[in-house]
Structures are given as structure tokens and as C-alpha cells.
Amino acid sequence: MEFVLLALIVIPLAVCPLFMVIPSQYPQLSRYLAALAGGALFGLSLLLFVAYEFDGGSGLRYELQWAWLENIGFLGENGITFYLALDGIGAPMVLLNGVVIFAAVFVSWNLANRTKDFFVLLFLLVAGVYGVFISQDLFFFFFWYEVAVLPMFLLIAVWGTSSEFKTFARTKEYGAMKLTLMLVGGSVLIWVAIMALFIEAGAGTYDMTVLREAALDEDFQKVVYPLFMVGFGVLAGMWPLHTWSPDGHVAAPTGVSMLHAGVLMKLGAFGILRVGMTLLPEGAEFWAPVLMAIGVTGAVYGSISALAQTDLKYMVGYSSVSHMGFVLMGLASMNQIGVNGAVLQMFAHGAMTALMFTSVGALYDQAHIRDMTQFGGIAKPMPRHTAFFTIAGLSSLGLPGLAGFVAEFHIFVGVFEAGYWWAGVLGVISAAITATYILRMLAKAYFGPLNEKWAGLKEMRLGEQFAAVLLIAMILLMGLWPAPFIDRISATVEMIPGIAG
């Protein structure tokens, strides 16, 4: 099974040169190759998720450790190692990534210009994301973290769409540049924190399992943890640093914003959990209230500003910020239920947002505008599309039986258990606000009398429908039967020091 884990990274990277070889006159060929690769990745991720079970000890399964750089300069005996392993938190995330890339390939099926380069960058992004979820070495964690950010600029700048609004304009170059710079800016903080951690641990290695045992003194942790928190927080859409998310998503093409909001934002939260909270428990303990406050602000702030949006993608962008606020609340609760909830929400939100972007993208491809107010009654010509978008909306407002509720419920219980009753109440209120803007959007754009202008709309393409069904399967699976997810996640969350009962 170890090589299945390795395949997760090798396949996307191996596919990139293959794409380059295909002459650009045959876009269909590169699409088939992309579908093949996407399918393989989805299959492997599913296999890994199903095969993973917690067997005591550190919970790391299918370990694969290759020496990369050791006993040289400041590096000790196992220095930097190419160390892949799957653990309870990584398994659902790997599955999520597999699902979203498979769906994204189908959604961007009939992308006209330069499909070949598009898929190269897309799979580079996926390789980076897989790398982060399964690498246990801090250097390679950061390496793949940056690889995931690398192709974002070109993906948005070349294939994105600029948009004009009454009072301001957002060109795709601006969106791409802001997104990339803010993420790399965040990674500067992470880089400094990694260096400080390396010195303080003094073990001469970046292997996280070793760093976890290194007893770091309290004040050091209190100083370095906020670096990790803010550094990863930028990618997790933390409140003051979230503005790249709506602008980035508005400019990005559908497939990219699916991958980006669906998976890349989870990298940030995953980083806070895997690196911040595991290696610096006292630091996490100390900063938990601040993270909680930021999380709550993000949740309420995101949902309220989503209320005021007229552009569909902006609304989904702000709803991502709000849901990531929930994830941060879950992480900040520092107890088993809350953190479980956070990881569940990462998965749930990933599937939900991907589905939302699929639908919005499908609508945009045909209607070429995203302004809610100009649509009316398009449930008539596009019933399936409406059904998919409604399911995504309902999952995001936390309807029981869908993934959103299971995750949000755990987060609320965890937050209340951790004593932040005010955060809990605000969180539930922001869930209600989410219901408001989702339903307002549905009523305004989808229901009501059919606006003649949109009579010509046709149903979603088959590829998009397949992607949507795939994502709905994930949402329903977690909504109705979350046991497989919970068993894997909570076994590993329990191992994290500093997590209360």
C-alpha cells in the first residue's frame, strides 16, 4: 500500500510532461488523459480511505521514508527525509482531494483555449495538495504547500474572467496576483516559524514525529504558534486576511475555484492542526481564545457580507470564508469533539463548495453573467442544476442528513464544551444567516416566474452532472453515515497533545 501512497504524488507529476507532449491540435486527447489521471487519483484515494484503519501507536499507516538529505551541514542523522504516511486526519482529506479533482476535470471539459497547459497546472496543484496531506516531514510539508500555491497565478490569470461591477472592477490579473501574493506572504511567516522550530528542537531534523516529542519550552511555543496560526490562517481564509478568497474565486475559472475553495483552503486549516497544534500544544492552548474570536468574526462577518452580494460567485466566496470561520472555531475549541467537527467541516465544506462552484460555473458558461438579480425562475429550464445547487445550499446551511449539519453540530458542541458560549451562540446565528442568504438566492434566482431572457438555458452538461452526482454522493455519505469519517479522524485527533476530553 505504501506505493499507492507514493502514486498519489507521482501520477499528477508524471502526467504533466505527458500533457506537454500531446500536440495542442488535439485538445480531446489531453482531456481523456486528464480524465484518466483524475479517475486513477480518485480510485486510489478511495482505496486509501477505505483501507486505512487505526492500529494503535502513532496512527501513521503505509509509511514510506527515503533519506533525502542528512548528516550534512546543520542536518542531523535523519535530517530531511521524503517521509510519506497516511493518518486519520489525512485520509478524509485525501479522499476529498481525489473527489474534487475528478469532478474538476469533468467540469472543465470543454475549456477551449490551451486545455493542455490548463491540465498541466491543475495536476501540479493537485500534486502539491496531496503532498501536504500525506507528508510527515516539515520540510516537504512546506515544499508541497508552496507547490500547491505555485500554479494558482497562471490558472487564474490566463483562464479566469474579469468582472465589472457598478462601483468597482476586479480584473482577473488583479485577482490572481492578490491571491498568489497573499498566500506566499503567509508562507513567509510559516517559513520563519519552521526555521525557529528547527533550531529550538535542536534534533537536527524536520521529521514531525521527532519534533513532536521535542519538549519545547512554553514561551517559545507562545511566540512561534501565532506565526503558524496566521501563516496558515491566510490560506484558511482567516478573517482579516480573507479578502483574496472572494476576489480570487470570482476571477478563477470553475474547475480552479472548485479545487481552490474545495481543497486548497483546507490546506491552511490542516496546517494549523497538523503543524501548529500538534507540535506546539501550549502555544495553541494560549492562543485558542484569539483563534476562537477570529473564527467567530470570520463566520458571522462572512455570512453577513454574503447576504449583501448580488454576484453568485462572490456569495459563494464569502460563504467559504464563513464556513472556514467555523473550521477555525472548531480548531480553537481545543477539545476532541470540536476538532473532530473542524476536520469534518473541512471535508464537508470541501464537497459543498465544489458542488456550488460546479453549478455556478455551469450557469455562467451558458448565461455569461453571475448577477443573481437578473436571473428569475431558471428552475424551469434547468431543474437538475437547481436540484444540485439546492442540495449544496442546504448542506451549507446545515440541514440534518447532509454533511454540513454533522460537521457544524460537532463544532457547536465542541465550542460550547470549551466554555465559549458566546462563540457558540454567534456561530448558530451565523448558520441561520447562511440559511437566509442561501434561500434568498434560491428564491430570487431559481424560483419565481421564468424571466424570458433565460428561456433558452439548457440543462447542465453530462460531465458537469456526473461531477455533481459524485460530490452529492460524498455529501450524502457523510450526512447519513459519518461513522467511517469519525472513527478515522477522532483516533488521530486523540493523539494530538493538548486536546481536552
Binding site: 550534512i72 508552496e146 507547490v147 497565478f153 501574493l181 506566499v184 513567509v188 528547527f198 533550531i199
Partner: protein, 493 residues
């Protein structure tokens, strides 16, 4: 003659000098060879010298007290010869289209390489100074080589005068150091300085300051960097590449050796000055680069930025930082050459060097666009490419010497630098070219480019071999503290 000088040790330098003369003679007597093939010939010569210097891999020999031929020297010799050979290949088409007297052009490049080798091998201030001047003079001339191009003329003038001025300052510094320590050999200076230096403080620190100033000019650290943008912009493009790769690399080879051997005992004194220089260099280099519209000036400021990162290595000098610095230097040289190759190719095709002119390059020459993107991302320190790994190791080593704040500042500015690299990439991929014609594929330049990009990927993905080379190289300059003292200069009885 107490110590017989093993002249054999300098075989590569002799080969280079002989080859330069041979090139000039061929240019004079056999016009038929054509300017382009003359370049290839020169490249073969440089490569042969590089190959020759591999003989001394692993052993450490002394060339009298002037220079020592050890792994450090061998590594840099191979690097410099490699740079020289690449530049000769790259400039072949350029010289054919735009320059006269190709013979002297290539000869001067080979002479510059000799100068660089001398700087790396030097174990004594005078030899170092002379090789420095040899390198500088050839570069001054090469910068002003395009006789009828006003910009090249002006660049040459500025580079020349300021170069002379700063080498005078550098000399004065050496004088003071010689006066206070009584010798010009690094090892001896090192011993004297590690002893009690209370009574010679004035001269020593003044000398040190002046040397830092002079060397600062050579590697283009901030207060002394003013000539760089003009020299880069004015000089013919292959020479800009030569300056950015060879001058910086040789400068740092000498800088590292001098400070590692001679001035190491005073490290606690000069450490924060170099750190100050490093911060200023990174700050100004990256911030002004954001404003640039000309590709060559952009790369000038980007190389100033890169010098800032290398100065971080010097500021936190230790065995690990030195090897990390050498690794980063190699990475920087290879990446810079790759970037310049693409720019030279584009210049040969279109004669344009403004960033806007790169619009739509991705459609017109996808391979060149891809390689330039890889090179720029590597300069910015993005993963998969050399920049990320070398910067990571360098900053971690610097942080190990409790210079975490400096490493943090460096990481911040490498993030700032991403902006202007993205600007260029955006032009290439997002912009629309006027005419969509594809360019003819110059096979030789493409192979050189592919080799360089392969080097960038190698250092990025698996830096172990190169880092080991750097490790062995720096091991030699650090272990030689306990040299037998009192060796006089030229073995005169």
C-alpha cells in the same frame, strides 16, 4: 629557492590563456571560420580548461603561498569555466549579428575566467587583487565592446571609472590590513587577528571597513550597487549575463574565502555590518525592481536582491552557512544563466528587451516561455526549482547561527521579489502578441537551455550531490586555520 612553485598546478589557467591567444590568432588569420563557430571554439577551450581542473579533485596542494589548489578552487574553477563556456555559446549568434572583432571578444571572456579562477584560488591578498583586476578589466572592456552603441559606451565608462575608484579604496584597505598584521596571507592575518589586537585596532578596523566597501562594489551590495543597473542595461546581453554570473560568483568566492580564513576571528565585530548591508541590499534591490520596465534592468535589481541573500550567508558565517552559500551561489548562477539564455534568444529574434515586448511569448515560443518561467520562479524561491531548496538551506543555516531575524527578513524579501517575476510571467502568458509567427528553433541554444533547466531541477529536487561538493569545498577553507605561520611571500631566501 626554498619552495619550488609547482607550475603544473596552474595548467587550466595556462590552457585558457593559450586558448585565448589561439582564438585571437585564428580570428586574424583565418577569417573563413565565421564569428559563430569562433564562439563554439572558445566554448570548447573553456570546457577543456574546466575538465582539466578536475584532475585535482580531492587533494590539497599549495602553489607557493600565493594560492592553494584544493576542492574549493576546483569547484569554482569548474563553475567559472562552465559559465565562460555557456556565455561563449550563447553569444555566438549575438556576436555574428551585431559585433565586430569576435576574436578579442571571446579572448576577453576567457581572460575573465582566468581572473575569476585566480580570485577563487588566491590564498594571499596580492594575488587576489591582481586576479580581481584582471577579471574587472576584461569586464570593463566587454561592457563597452559595442563600439557604436551609446548605451554600451556609457555603461562601460561608468563601470570602468567606478570600478577603478572602488579598487583604489579596496587597495587602501588591503594596505592598512597589511600594515597592521604584517602579512598579506590570509592564514597569517587570521592568526594575528586571533591574537590580541588591542594596539592595532584603528588600522585594522579602518582596513576592514574599506575592504568591505571595495568588495561591496564588486558584488554590488547596496550602497555600492549604483553602477549595476546601468552596466547591465548598457552592456551587450551576453556580457550582462557574464557579469551577473561570473562577476558575482567570483566576487563571493573571494569574499567567502577572505572572511572565512582571514577575518573569521573578528566575526563578532563585522557580522552586524554585513547583516546591515544584506538587509539594505535586499530591500532596495527588490523594491526598486518592482518599478522596472526594462528586462535587463529588472534582472540587474533581481541580482542585487540575490546578492542580499548571499550576504546573509556571509553575515552568519560558519561551516554550514558557507556550504549553503556556495550551494545557493551555484543555484543562482545556473538559474541566472537559464534566464539570460531565454532573454538572449528573444533579443536575437526580435531585438526587444522591454517587459511589454514579452507579450504573448507563450504562443510564439512556448519552450522559451516555459524555461523563462521556471528560471524566474526559481529566482523567486518557489519549490520544485533550485531557488527554493537553496534558499531554504541557506536561511536555515543562517538562522542556526542565531540570525533568525535576518533569515526572516530574507524570506520576506524573497516573497516581495515574487511580484515582479509574476509581472513578467503574466506578460508572457496573458498578453497577446501582435503577430503569431513561431520562431525558428536554434538547436544549440536550446540544448544549452535544456541542460541549464535540468540543472535547476536537479538542485531543486535532489540537492544532495551538489551540497556534498559544496561541503567538501568549504571544509578545506575552514580547516586550514592551523597553517604553519611565518611563510613569507615569494620564497626569496
Amino acid at each position: 629557492m626554498s619552495t619550488s612553485l609547482e607550475w603544473g598546478l596552474l595548467a587550466p589557467e595556462f590552457l585558457l590563456a593559450g586558448w585565448a591567444a589561439f582564438i585571437i590568432l585564428i580570428d586574424l588569420f583565418w577569417g573563413g571560420l565565421g564569428k559563430e563557430r569562433l564562439g563554439w571554439l572558445a566554448a570548447i577551450g573553456a570546457a577543456a580548461a574546466g575538465g582539466l581542473s578536475l584532475i585535482w579533485v580531492g587533494d590539497t596542494k599549495e602553489f607557493g603561498t600565493l594560492a592553494d589548489i584544493n576542492d574549493y578552487t576546483t569547484l569554482f574553477r569548474v563553475l567559472f569555466c562552465g559559465i565562460g563556456a555557456t556565455i561563449c555559446i550563447l553569444s555566438a549568434r549575438y556576436v555574428k549579428d551585431r559585433l565586430l572583432h569576435p576574436g578579442e571578444f571571446y579572448a576577453l571572456i576567457l581572460l575573465a575566467v582566468i581572473g575569476a579562477n585566480g580570485m577563487a584560488a588566491a590564498h594571499e591578498l596580492l594575488t587576489a587583487y591582481i586576479s580581481l583586476e584582471l577579471l574587472s578589466f576584461s569586464l570593463y572592456t566587454l561592457t563597452a565592446y559595442a563600439k557604436f552603441d551609446l548605451r554600451s559606451n556609457e555603461a562601460g565608462l561608468k563601470y570602468m571609472l567606478l570600478g577603478a575608484f572602488s579598487s583604489a579604496i579596496f587597495l587602501y584597505g588591503i594596505g592598512l590590513i597589511y600594515g597592521t598584521t604584517g602579512s598579506t596571507q590570509f592564514a597569517v592575518i587570521g592568526d594575528v587577528l586571533s591574537g590580541d589586537t588591542s594596539d592595532i585596532e584603528w588600522g585594522m578596523y579602518m582596513g576592514l571597513a574599506l575592504i568591505i566597501g571595495g568588495l561591496g562594489f564588486k558584488v554590488a551590495a547596496v550602497p555600492f550597487h549604483m553602477y549595476t543597473p546601468d552596466a547591465y542595461e548598457g552592456a551587450p546581453i551576453p556580457i550582462t549575463a557574464l557579469i551577473s554570473a561570473l562577476a558575482k560568483a567570483a566576487g563571493f568566492a573571494f569574499f567567502l574565502k577572505l572572511f572565512a580564513v582571514a577575518f573569521l576571528p573578528l566575526i563578532d565585530d563585522w557580522r552586524y555590518f554585513i547583516a546591515g548591508l544584506a538587509v539594505a541590499t535586499m530591500a532596495l534591490g527588490n523594491l526598486v525592481a518592482i518599478q522596472q520596465r526594462n528586462m535587463k534592468r529588472l534582472l540587474a535589481y533581481s541580482s542585487i536582491g540575490q546578492v542580499g541573500y548571499l550576504l546573509v550567508g556571509i553575515a552568519a558565517l560558519s561551516q554550514d552557512t558557507a556550504s549553503a552559500l556556495v550551494l545557493h551561489l551555484i543555484g543562482y548562477a545556473v538559474t541566472n544563466l537559464a534566464a539570460f539564455t531565454c532573454i538572449i534568444l528573444y533579443y536575437n529574434w526580435t531585438g526587444k528587451e522591454e517587459i511589454e515586448d514579452y507579450k504573448g511569448l507563450a504562443q510564439r515560443a512556448p519552450y522559451v516561455a516555459l524555461c523563462l518561467t521556471i528560471a524566474l520562479f526559481s529566482l523567486a524561491g518557489m519549490p520544485l526549482f533550485a531557488g527554493f531548496t537553496t534558499k531554504f538551506i541557506l536561511f536555515q543555516a543562517a538562522a542556526d547561527e542565531d540570525m533568525l531575524w535576518l533569515a526572516g527578513v530574507a524570506a520576506f524579501f524573497s516573497f516581495v521579489s515574487l511580484y515582479y517575476y509574476l509581472i513578467v510571467i503574466r506578460e508572457m502568458y496573458v498578453g497577446e502578441a501582435e503577430e503569431k509567427t513561431r520562431f525558428p528553433t536554434p538547436w544549440l541554444e536550446y540544448t544549452a537551455l535544456t541542460v541549464l533547466i535540468a540543472g535547476v531541477f536537479l538542485i531543486g529536487l535532489y540537492p544532495r550531490p551538489v551540497l556534498e561538493l559544496a561541503e567538501d569545498a568549504t571544509a578545506t577553507i575552514f580547516v586550514s586555520e592551523e597553517l604553519e605561520s611565518g611563510e613569507d611571500l615569494v620564497g626569496v631566501p
